[in-house]
Amino acid sequence: MNPLTLPVTVVSPTDIARLLREIESIDNFFRQSAIRQSGTPNALPRLSKLMDSFVTNNQLNLLQEEDRQKISQLLSELHSSAPVLHVSFSVDPPGPYIQKIVAWLRNNISPYVLVTVGLQPNIGAGCVVRTTNKLFDFSLREYFDEKRGFFIDKLHTAITESDSGAENQVVEAPVQIKSSVQDRVTK
């Protein structure tokens, strides 16, 4: 039996919590249906897109209590102990963009990894990934920081050139003052 997988549309712990509430409501519906009197109206709760994709990907049937238990158990475990990565971007990324990153993470890091998205406008480009204990800066700012030596060399070169020009101007000034005073004394 294949283990349950999370679709890429389920991204954040909030989505997990939402799915958990939804599966609980569905479970409650069926429990109420079992004890309801005949003739009493009973409306099935509407499935969200997240739940629909989750069920479809895992080929589950929500009418089966066993499947619902599986889903509920998985979601409860994920809600309490799923690895969560916090990824910050300079601008608010669109959903499909996040889903691509989530797909890569679930293929390469962990199949149940969750992602929360943050916003840091000062990073310029790239992103900053924060795990439980570490912070991985993949931003343009970090790239420039790595190239700091190169920029400092360029800066020193520019300053040295500007200094040589400025010193020439400073040296000429006293000569003019001295000559003017000398002319005044002579007169």
Partner: protein, 206 residues
């Protein structure tokens, strides 16, 4: 010739003239008559004198004296005029030379004082110039030191915030042209490079 000598000559001339006039117009008094024969003779002499020196003769003498006096006066006046002219010319020459001498002395003193003032001004200006030069060198040194300190401080601050500054400038320049989709490969490659570290942190994380 000085003015005092001229005044003395004039006084002498006026005195002689006064004495001559006095002798002319004031004859000597007759001696007192002697008693007896002598007195008679004296009286007769008086009569004869009165006879000889009558009014016409006296008038003649007066005229002669007057003419002589006029002649002397004229000669003296001429001499006096000549002396006056000579004295005046000598006085003019003396005054000219004295004034010239005094003016020369005053001018020399004035020139000397001007030279002293000029020298004083030159010394003062020289001292001021030296002081200004020292102040300028001092200020230049201080300014250069402050400039170097400020430059090094700015440079260190700039270097410490180099990444942020360059990032800011790059974003200002091409920020609008940076697209998220173009960054995806870069982000995924960076994640690939740090894949093991992320996995280990997730496994070991609390």
């Amino acid at each position: 010739m000085s003015l005092g000598l001229l005044i003395a000559i004039i006084v002498v001339i006026v005195g002689l003239t006064t004495i001559i006039i006095w002798f002319i117009f004031h004859p000597r008094e007759a001696k007192p008559k002697k008693k007896n024969a002598i007195e008679d003779l004296t009286d007769k002499a008086k009569d004869d004198v009165e006879h000889i020196f009558n009014d016409d003769f006296r008038e003649e003498l007066r005229n002669r004296g007057r003419l002589h006096f006029e002649k002397i006066i004229g000669e003296n006046a001429m001499f006096l005029q000549q002396d006056l002219r000579l004295t005046t010319s000598q006085l003019n020459e003396f005054m000219r030379s004295e004034i010239t001498h005094v003016l020369k002395e005053e001018f020399s003193k004035y020139e000397q004082s001007i030279n002293d003032a000029k020298q004083l001004a030159i010394d003062s200006i020289q001292k001021t110039q030296d002081t200004i030069e020292q102040q300028r060198e001092l200020l230049t040194g201080q300014l250069n030191e402050q400039l170097k300190a400020e430059k090094s401080r700015s440079l260190s601050r700039f270097e410490s915030h180099m990444a942020d500054i360059v990032n800011h400038y790059v974003l200002e320049a091409v920020g609008e042209q940076i697209d998220l989709s173009e960054q995806l490969d870069f982000i995924l490659s960076q994640m690939e490079r740090n894949k093991q570290a992320i996995i280990e942190d997730i496994k070991n994380g609390a």
